[in-house]
Amino acid sequence: MNRFGSLPRRLVHLVIVLFGISLVTFFLLRLIPGDPALAILGSSYTHQRAVAIDNFLGLNRPIWTQYGLYMDRLFHGNMGFSFYYDEPATTVILQHVAPTLFLLVYAGALAALISFPIGFISGLRRGGVVDQAGRIFFTLSFAMPAFWLGIIFILLFSVHIHAFPISGFGSGFIGHLYYLFLPALTIALGFSTVLVRSLRAATISALQAEFVDTARMKGIPWRRVLWRHVFRIAILAVVAVYGVNLAYLVGGTVLVENVFSLPGLGTLLVDSVNQRDYPVVQGITLLFAVIIVCINLLTDMVQAALDPRVGQEIGT
């Protein structure tokens, strides 16, 4: 039974979604008042200079020809030239991909590291110390805006304790881990709230399942029953929640990126929208869409791998 038989269909869906997004972004951007010439000329804006810039950037052509040109170039992998950076949009985006992707994966790992043990133990010993403390802490961390938490971490860990750098991306893998620890932790805490809660509920349900008694009946040690039966099926429920929330995060790291001065995609996206740098915004939007859809696909695959019963429903 090929569990991923529906993969080609999912890829078709991906293409449709990407096409839709490129269409919506293209026209949405042009509906926003203020055009790129305004951004470039700023306070010394004159109409003649604006017209010269529009011609140079090809914005004076009818909108449908612009869209046609854009899609044709996109088909050949060329996202156009950034208005602001005076470089191809692809190079600009690639320069900013590393911090955001690294931050996302790092935050995802930290969130898992934090929430899996706490969620599982809270489920095993309901009402225990871990359960109560976890519940209070994560309610607080959820209700706090991420950028506020970020500033507190900087004040505590960078200014007073000098444990971590205030900003920047660092160099080399270890450098990244060290520099991005605080931003990743900031994101991970908010993210963990949901994970802890769903893992706790799943563990409680799993403990009451009859196959746990069957497993105990075999005489295998309780620790192994917990690990290979209870945790295995409890984690399953968390995979879907993990995927959905990680995807949600993709567009949302800008606030933390700004507080920690990380030159990531989020900051670039907001700046580019402010600058009306259409090619870069369109490029990032597509990149985000691809990442989000891949995360969803990956989540479904992991879920299908872990839970054979869900395998059949992948197709829809």
Binding site: H13, G20, L28, L140, M144, L236, T316
Partner: protein
């Protein structure tokens, strides 16, 4: 950013697998969290509507003589902001907007998203696939570009902030509801209802919805808090409530500039958000236990 909490098909199947008796915690214990949450929220709603009684200052009159007064200065319990406006007054009056956001924005996305997901899940086949592609599209769309575009076109105002939230947040509900409906569709009680010849609408709304609404309702509690924080993010991007209207999110956003010199500008509205966040979380937990117990 608000987070989505989707119950996946596997969790539902597993829950059906565990046929053990109800949990040991007595029912009163469960209801306690719900009651405490509701009481806290009630106090907040009362305080917000009795604002004119509770505090004499108006939230918008500026007093250039003593801006940034620290908390506990005479007749400014929580201090004043950078324009000398009383922070306590702004929090109470601002609460009206933020509670409206928490309820107003969430209610619409809850109803809209749930119906969308219910229809998509129940009809299935090609329509479901198309509807879910629309959901994927909105979901995969960077939320920031959408919000900035919407508010830039419609102009920044509180109502337009609602519109921005409506357009972007219904997707999570649609996704959760669809997943639930797809599973519920195969349950006996639905097959039985259809066997009795009930109309499609009746099956959907009288049978599937009541049994699957719990996950969506629980999520709406989480989403409500998320929407308030969303207001803070919009304020942070400068797209939130217009000056001089008081709104917690924008107060936090503006206050951040003064975080090192006068921390209370950011702390006070932040605590207000925290307070509402906690009350919603408690309600969410209480509801989750009650509804889940009912479902088993």
């Amino acid at each position: 950013m608000s987070t989505a909490w989707a119950a996946s098909p596997s969790e539902l199947l597993m829950r059906a697998a565990s046929k053990a008796a109800g949990r040991r915690r007595s029912v009163t214990r469960r209801r306690l969290t719900l009651i405490v949450g509701l009481v806290l929220l009630g106090i907040a709603i009362l305080a917000v509507f009795l604002a004119p009684v509770l505090v004499s200052q108006s939230p918008t009159t500026i007093d250039p003589l003593h801006p940034l007064a620290p908390p506990l200065t005479p007749d400014h319990l929580l201090g004043t902001d950078q324009y000398g406006r009383d922070i306590l007054a702004r929090i109470l009056y601002g609460g009206r907007i933020d509670l409206a956001i928490a309820f107003g924005a969430t209610a619409v996305t809850l109803v809209g998203g749930t119906f969308y997901g219910l229809i998509a899940g129940y009809i299935g086949g090609r329509t479901d696939s198309v509807m879910m592609r629309v959901v994927d599209l909105v979901f995969a769309f960077p939320f920031l570009v959408l919000v900035i575009a919407i508010i830039a076109m419609l102009g920044p105002s509180i109502f337009n902030m609602f519109v921005a939230i409506w357009i972007t947040s219904w997707v999570a509900y649609a996704r959760i509801m669809r997943a639930q409906t797809v599973v519920a569709k195969k349950q006996q009680y639905v097959l039985a209802a259809r066997a009795l010849g009930y109309g499609r609408l009746r099956v959907m709304f009288r049978h599937i919805l009541p049994n699957t609404a719990s996950a969506v309702i629980i999520f709406s509690m989480v989403d409500a808090v998320g929407n308030i924080i969303l207001a803070a993010s919009l304020g942070f991007l400068g797209l939130g409530a217009q000056p001089p209207a008081p709104e917690w999110g924008t107060m936090i956003a503006d206050g951040q500039n003064y975080i090192l010199s006068s921390w209370w500008l950011v702390a006070m509205p932040g605590l207000a958000v925290l307070y509402i966040g906690i009350s919603f979380a408690l309600i969410g937990d209480g509801l989750a236990d009650l509804l889940r117990a009912g479902e088993q």
